[in-house]
Symmetry: C2
Subunit: 115 residues, 2 copies
Amino acid sequence: MTTLAPAAAADRAGVSIDTLRYYEREGLIGPIRRSAGGRREYTEDDLFWIGLITCFREAGLGIADLRGFVAILRAEHPPQERVAFLRERRAALEQRVAALCRAMEVLDEKIAYYG
Amino acid sequence: MTTLAPAAAADRAGVSIDTLRYYEREGLIGPIRRSAGGRREYTEDDLFWIGLITCFREAGLGIADLRGFVAILRAEHPPQERVAFLRERRAALEQRVAALCRAMEVLDEKIAYYG
DNA sequence: TCTTGACCTGGAGCGCGCTCCAGATACGAG
DNA sequence: CTCGTATCTGGAGCGCGCTCCAGGTCAAGA
């Protein structure tokens, strides 16, 4: 099975090696398997998961939020509890979108005014 | 002309008094007029402007971005320069919305999976 | 007049999310 | 075997956006 060294994994994920280590320390990813010598070896599965995490980070979710997300998806929770959590997160994102739309409307007004 | 004391202004704006002072120090608002005794007196115009600023803050723009915004709108700039700046900011907000939508799609997948 | 509470200033402190560093270890090329 | 580069660890440092604090001033009510 092909794995990636830290630099390659960081490159693929679009974040720094330090960030990857930070996420691992915070329990957001991994623990990543190690080679005999102690170096991290990232699998495709790891990278897929890292992709989810970076997707959420880019959307502005905080580390603590993501820890909750990870906990809910990894541990054994009744499905309705998971769904409730996920819906709640989704609602929070919708509110962010709404805030962005308000700001864009203000910008559009200004653009129309000066345009 | 009716003005508001700091506590009332903060209340109306939905931020803390400290935040209002911070924004003023950073040049995002004001300078706010003072009473004979040195206390701030917020006018309706001040509150309207503060509303714009908090709107953008809620949308995730940073203090430095907002300084740029303030500079562009207050100072004398050719209209096309202003419009270019505003369009650029708008595009950045659109990207944020896109990031949020991607994250929401991921959540929707998970919700569908567990639902 | 006295008390009480809102407000003033400058500056320190804080939580977040990285980012960087020192000193040690692993490993591939020559 | 040697060299150079990549990686390891724990911990310090940093920029952002507030938030809090000390010590003092102002103002309205009893």
